[in-house]
Symmetry: C2
Subunit: 219 residues, 2 copies
Amino acid sequence: MGLIDLSMTIRPMWRWPIEKELLKDIASGDPYQVTATKMGMHAFTHIDTPLHIELGRESIETVDLERLCGSTAVIDLTPVSANQEIGADLLIKRGIHVLPGDIVLLKTCWDLSRDYTTKEYWLDAPHLNRDAAQWLSELSLKAVGFDFPQDYVIREIPDRHPSAEEMPTHDLLLRKGILLIEYLCNLDQIKTNRVDLYALPLKISGTEGACARVVAVED
Amino acid sequence: MGLIDLSMTIRPMWRWPIEKELLKDIASGDPYQVTATKMGMHAFTHIDTPLHIELGRESIETVDLERLCGSTAVIDLTPVSANQEIGADLLIKRGIHVLPGDIVLLKTCWDLSRDYTTKEYWLDAPHLNRDAAQWLSELSLKAVGFDFPQDYVIREIPDRHPSAEEMPTHDLLLRKGILLIEYLCNLDQIKTNRVDLYALPLKISGTEGACARVVAVED
């Protein structure tokens, strides 16, 4: 059915510690294997809701999935260079096919330039400037997805925890209620500029986002 | 787009303990909120892979999502009564539209009869007998989804941990490589006998299954 998996593999790594515990273990005589996993809800491919940056806002289990699924415009920004600042001018030029009510995917294929288990994936990343986030915020979008750490200061985490105001996509998109789909990969496999997206986060009560599995469907 | 969310809400409850920890907390002066969650990968709506019952078998991140997405036959078993044993005869009668290569959803709407946060959801549940699992195992299916605890002895967990051989769907379907999509809900909202399914588990390295978000799309 032309399914493309846009999700990172969740595994222990320096930026996102993952704890796994075998609750039941066949090798130890249990009749079946059961693993428990502890992880942050903003590790690997995941969705942010506005509660991530503002108290009293919506949490992930209340989000209607129509906002994370459906008709999606892919804005092809390739090729990008290390540390490239992406401005509104490039988005306007490459995004003429975006329609009101769309989900937008920003495609840089950054995961082909830097391995996402290395620090260079963050330290050398392309990023959106404030004008770019402002332009996106005016398009009546449901959600925006990224295959790169999209705000410049994200590279400073966890040494420093920047304010939402320093992160243009968080400040201008997320605060407005446009959901963020973060840390996608494999966008090089998308060959068209429109796909159907299914970005499905775990339905966890009360959290400000959740780990997700995300697939694109091409006609 | 006719999207129906078939996923339970993940929250602390007696059968499935969930731990939540606020790693970053706006109320305590952090610039954003981040929650870490610890939970078993077979809690609430989830996918089982054969590694759940047999060492050396496939883990969840290696599963091609084509096996969990696409054309799906809904077998309507309603109405069901408490403790009803579902046999092959009923599946044959209600499942004449099932095609080779399908995913099958068994629809009992059990979540309307018993609240899935109560023990009665398990203690009174309808269940498949061995003949029913055997019949399903011969249909060349990709996966089978259930909206009830489908093997009789599942009700004994966690007081007793039954062997896979005591659980017909695990023994006859999962062992054969037919994936199990467990603890669905809201199947009463599906009005047709064919849907497109997107059953998307977290892509966790090495685990014998994972929590999932599952949606049906009706034409």
